[in-house]
Amino acid sequence: MTWASWPWRLLSFCAWFAKELVVANGAVIHDNLTPGQRSTTGIARFPTRCSTDTEITLLAALITLTPGTLTLGTTISDGMNNDEADPGTRVLFVHGMYQVHADELRDVLDDMETRLLNALRRKGITE
């Protein structure tokens, strides 16, 4: 991706997040107002691709803003804990309300992370 499309990517991310905010709010309010509890909660370890503190702070804040997902904490991987995480990988611990498996929650977070990094970085995600 080129830097020329950067403002457009930033704007479309804001629009996508506003839509996501309304959808997630609707889900929590619906669960709240209907009888019974259908929450299946859990905590997932989510190794991110964020390379700066700004990126991980924004990602953690946006995850918390979306009702149903909640950041509990963050750490920097030492590479010993998990095979997939290189040393220095920034890791988030996220509490999810409506996912049955940790991988399901990680898929949701991965989608948001990809969109955020593509919007934030001037050249998008370059591996």
Partner: protein, 108 residues
């Protein structure tokens, strides 16, 4: 009453209703973490609705700038506050209910 203030009043009432559901959620949801999520609906959408409704009642350029600033600051502080509360809840070993998975749990 013109159309703009009519819409503004509806949006303010919607925001107040979201606040009411958040208060209900504090009573109904099972543990600290899900309750934080329930309150998050008020801190996010509820406040935004009430503020935007107030802007629609008295629209002006300077007020629009203020509203944009308020929304950005409100969303940033409410999310950081939620993270701090959730983190301290976990550090004081508050139990989760309806747990299906926990990557933070110490290995057996």
């Amino acid at each position: 009453m013109n159309a703009l203030s009519f819409i503004g009043n509806i949006v303010i009432v919607l925001g107040a209703l979201i606040f009411a559901t958040a208060a209900l959620g504090i009573v109904r949801f099972p543990d600290a973490y899900t309750r934080i999520s329930a309150v998050g609906t008020a801190g996010g959408l509820g406040t935004v609705f009430v503020i935007v409704g107030a802007l629609l009642l008295q629209p002006s350029l300077t007020d629009t700038v203020k509203v944009v600033l308020i929304i950005i600051l409100q969303l940033a502080t409410s999310s950081i506050g939620s993270i701090a509360i959730a983190r301290s809840a976990y550090l004081t070993r508050t139990k989760l209910s309806h747990v299906r998975f926990d990557d933070l749990a110490p290995p057996e």
